[in-house]
């Protein structure tokens, strides 16, 4: 890397390590940040209200302590870590928090967040668990309720034009990320999985305009790159829920793998689906968040009547990424107690087998303490497929 690249990635690393530092600065100037914890929160509505969405994240190096006195440990460790940091005051600069029905843990713990945190605004967003015609009608009404609630909090009306503008700027953000993914197609990739995950994590802590600027700068720098930061190795897809820390991907890349694609929440699951422009914005948002985000939380009816057909409609995106990014193996990374993903493991395994992509299934707690155990498994997997 040249000096300019080094300084850009140093800035990203600083924002990553001191997560929320920029938001804190802006909050002191009076900007209103609204925290969210899952990909199902329509960021466009927060932006249209003149507020700034901020993805709250956990910390695998911080033992869960205070959080466990307020929340039972039957909840997934990722979510517990996010909650723990929040109740310890890490995100006290937030003005509010939106929790969607992303999984049962989110629904059941909503009141615990409300009682335990000092924010002035809370909203629970009900998301249908199925995806049929009536679901869209229901979900659009939910989106309008959320819109009204944000209007009340922000003290301003959210016009159709505000929504259209917000949709445009968030789509721009997604397009830039899609362009960054293009650089993963080189062999070895021109951007490492570690760099990209760090950048995307940081991006979701910044105002959307600053996030767009940051991704533009990264695009400029990567275009200038002549050499990959990685040695050529097995090309891997990271499959799973939210990976808001770089440690696992970093470990895989240190052991010689090239992480070049993913389905994770702060990756392709979040950034690949665009919101349609030029039509009723609430309808378009309804379609994006309910149908286009492919998450095991949503039950999709098997219209084919066969197991294979069901697999293809639920996991077809994995097969498509496998082709597009030249995947040679995948890691399915699941948090303990994550019900939506946990139930799907056998079906996902069957799907990987059907597309002839070797799979390593890892179940983990959200803690840096398990890195050694992961290393043993990843080393053997890379050796096996290498």
């Amino acid at each position: 890397m040249n000096d300019k690249q080094t300084s850009l990635f140093n800035t990203i690393e600083n924002y990553y390590k001191d997560y929320g530092v920029r938001a804190k600065e802006l909050a002191r100037e009076g900007k209103k940040f609204i925290g969210y914890v899952c990909s199902f929160v329509p960021l466009e509505i927060i932006t249209a209200a003149g507020c700034i969405p901020f993805r709250v994240r956990g910390n695998i190096y911080e033992p869960i302590s205070k959080g466990d006195t307020l929340l039972e440990t039957i909840v997934c460790p990722y979510y517990r870590s996010v909650f723990d940091l929040s109740v310890k005051g890490k995100y006290d600069f937030l003005s509010g928090l939106v929790i969607p029905h992303g999984c049962d843990s989110m629904v059941r713990s909503y009141s615990a967040w409300m009682y335990s945190l000092p924010y002035s605004y809370f909203h629970f967003l009900n998301i249908p668990t199925v995806c049929v015609e009536s679901s869209f009608e229901f979900f659009n009404a939910e989106l309008n309720t959320f819109r009204k609630s944000m209007e009340k909090f922000a003290g301003k009306a959210i016009t159709e034009e505000d929504l259209a503008k917000a949709i445009r700027v968030h789509n721009e953000n997604r397009d830039k990320v899609r362009n960054l993914y293009e650089f993963r197609k080189a062999n070895p990739p021109l951007i490492s999985g570690t760099e990209l995950t760090m950048a995307l994590t940081v991006g979701s802590s910044l105002p959307i305009g600053e996030s767009n600027d940051l991704f533009d700068q990264i695009l400029v720098e990567i275009r200038r790159r002549e050499k990959s930061p990685l040695k050529k190795g097995p090309r891997l897809l990271m499959d799973g829920a939210c990976l808001d820390n770089i440690e696992l991907i970093k470990l895989v890349e240190e052991l010689g793998g090239n992480v070049v694609a993913d389905t994770i929440c702060n990756g392709a699951r979040d950034y690949f689906p665009r919101t349609d422009e030029g039509e009723n914005p609430i309808d378009a948002l309804g379609r994006r968040y309910l149908d286009k985000i492919n998450c095991p939380k949503t039950y999709r009816e098997n219209k084919t009547g066969t197991f294979e057909g069901d697999m293809a409609s639920r996991f077809g995106d994995i097969g498509a990424y496998a082709k597009e990014f030249g995947i040679e193996g995948a890691i399915l990374y699941i948090y303990k107690y994550c019900d939506p993903f946990g139930f799907e493991v056998p079906a996902r395994k069957a799907y990987y087998q059907s597309i002839h992509v070797p799979l390593l299934h890892l179940e983990d707690v959200y803690s840096a303490g398990t890195i050694g155990q992961l290393r043993t498994r990843i080393q053997a997997f890379l050796e096996m497929i290498g």
Partner: protein, 261 residues
């Protein structure tokens, strides 16, 4: 001719093998202890002495196992899964499913006749399903771990254990002892419980015959017997099952030098 070394530093026991193109020149095992680097040096010294060779005669060393990165004189470090596959294939080429019962994990491997791994599965992150429980129970009963296999085979009335957790099993064993249950019946119960856990792992991996059991756990006749009973078919056990990863590491070292085995 020069020799190669395969060194396997496990979480409980460390093993080493010295080979040349004529065959095995030395073989050594010892507890891993707290200083893996020192243990590795000790193994090297012992193997050289058995082989009647000096340090300069070592052409290549491949290290494996939990503490492999502390084998500072190794030319290469290989995952133990790869070494186990290589080692067992050299001795029992018909084997397609390998169960390695170690102190830290139990591993199930699917391999081909050339010693390449096709898939693998490890037991969970806690000690449940690993060989650790055998050491724990030996300590509780005040018998040597080497003796528990034969003792277990004498059981006429196996105790049923309801837990696969090593910690719970220990407290359950202590409470059963207070009810004057015989040692052999207790051991047979522990072996059955561990074998059932290993069987569940094996089923999840999927089985192709022949099946072999290796690792320190495979030296325990009681465990092998319990596993055979649950599986309902024969399980191959090589002569020194705990040395398989070290042997595989040494074979890989030979292959690296282009010497066929």
């Amino acid at each position: 001719m020069a020799i190669v070394l395969g060194v396997d530093i496990g979480s409980a026991a460390s093993k080493g093998i010295a080979l040349n193109d004529q065959g095995t020149l030395g073989s050594y095992e010892c507890p891993s202890g707290g200083d893996f680097k020192l243990t590795a040096e000790r193994i090297k010294k012992e193997l050289l002495s058995q082989a009647g060779k000096s340090e300069n005669d070592i052409s290549r060393t491949v290290a494996t196992g939990y503490g492999s990165n502390r084998v500072t004189f190794a030319d290469e470090v290989k995952p133990d899964i790869v070494c186990i596959a290589k080692g067992i294939s050299s001795l029992l080429p018909s084997v397609r499913t390998v169960i390695d019962v170690g102190d830290l994990y139990t591993k199930v491997l699917r391999i081909d006749g050339n010693g390449s791994v096709h898939n693998f599965l490890l037991s969970g992150k806690c000690a449940g399903g690993s060989g650790r429980i055998l050491q724990v129970i030996a300590k509780v009963l005040h018998v040597r771990v080497e003796e528990i296999g034969e003792l277990s085979l004498k059981s006429k009335k196996r105790v049923e254990f309801n837990t696969g957790c090593a910690v719970f099993a220990e407290s359950e064993a202590i409470s059963r002892l207070s009810q004057e249950v015989k040692k052999e019946d207790l051991l047979a119960g522990i072996h059955r419980a561990l074998a059932a856990q290993i069987d569940s792992l094996t089923e999840r991996m999927g089985v192709e015959q022949d099946m072999a059991m290796v690792g320190g756990g495979a030296r325990d006749a009681g465990l092998v017997q319990a596993f055979k009973e649950i599986r309902g078919h024969d399980i191959l056990v090589p002569e020194k099952p705990h040395m398989i990863a070290a042997l595989g590491a040494a074979i890989i070292a030979m292959e690296n030098l282009g010497i066929p085995q």
